[in-house]
Symmetry: C2
Subunit: 190 residues, 2 copies
DNA sequence: GTCTATACGACGATAGAC
DNA sequence: GTCTATCGTCGTATAGAC
């Protein structure tokens, strides 16, 4: 284990960076704070990761790695998709927020775009069929993005106070028009 | 005109701040840059506006002041709402982006929440009727937010390359389920 | 090969002279 | 009302100790 010590420092930095970036955001977390929490010299952070931005991208990519699992009946896909957001882990929420807010910093925007494509658009594209499935998948991803925007960025208090079921039953019929456009009313989601 | 010179400086700072904040964002615009463009001393910027953050909030509030005008037949409200986003002024787009990205800085988040409520939720609440109109208005605002998110933040290239008409005709039926939930299919928007 | 010490330029903000 | 000087902190680079 020639690099055991170095790797241990790197891991400690990664852990501290993940914690601080998700809880205080990119601008709110300083290299010195991260180094202090990892019990390491501030210069080591730059030495190991090149820059604060690269450390941010590396840790956020690791956090945003898991794509949606949409397997199951197409009839209830809209409901499951919405429930996924409403019951999302605080960590996923914080990662999304940190990426969005830093998306005008260097290459962070490109990273976020890839995460959106791989995490939302691609899984939807894989399940949707029929006419205009590509546009419908991308607009369905937009609807999910809109839910995250309203709940997590705009923090619509009236929506946040609602039981998840009510949001699902109100939003799913609209989303279902993109997921199952050919199904006549009444459909499975209402 | 005792304060003529001071007001002229303040206006010049406001103009420069609006230009820089919308084109380079909050973190990307320095007090020194703003002062240089306004041809005043950097210390004057803080002296007149208290802090960079307060200058940001004041200028962004002025830019985000105009709410949506949704007057017209309810049948085509969804279409007009979407078209509003697709043909939005670059200035509106940049203001939205700057506010979202700085929404974890001090009181900016609260400012953005008020702008969302006044600019999107309130106009929708005013026009929607029927059962669950409050929740439906807020979720319709979420759908609009999702469109802005996908086009402007995630920058979905496939959507951006599409003619506006195609996005309207694909997204409007879904949005219409929140705006006109009781209308049977086929409706005016398809 | 790891790490520490130190330093540099730019940042937001302040105090006080004019 | 305006400017000069300066403060503490930021991200980052490098020289050199272990």
């Amino acid at each position: 284990m020639a690099t055991a010590k170095g790797e241990r420092s790197k891991d400690a930095i990664r852990r501290a960076a993940t914690h601080l970036f998700t809880s205080r955001g990119y601008v709110g977390s300083t290299v010195r704070d991260i180094a202090a929490e990892a019990q390491v010299d501030p210069a080591l952070v730059i030495r190991h990761f090149g820059s604060k931005e690269r450390l941010f991208i590396e840790t956020m990519q690791a956090e945003a790695g898991t794509a949606l699992d949409l397997d199951g009946p197409l009839d209830s896909l809209a409901e499951r998709l919405i429930a996924n957001i409403l019951t999302a882990e605080p960590q996923s929420r914080s990662t999304f927020l940190a990426l969005v807010r830093a998306s005008d910093t260097g290459e962070v925007g490109a990273t976020m775009r890839v995460a959106h494509e791989a995490g939302f658009v691609a899984p939807l594209l894989q399940h949707l069929t029929g006419e205009g499935r590509e546009v419908r998948a991308r607009l369905a991803a937009a609807m999910i993005g809109g839910l995250m925007y309203s709940l997590w960025i705009a923090q619509d208090d009236a929506l946040l106070a609602l039981p998840p079921d009510e949001i699902v039953s109100a939003y799913a019929p609209a989303l279902d028009r993109l997921v199952n456009p050919s199904t006549g009313r009444p459909s499975a989601v209402e």
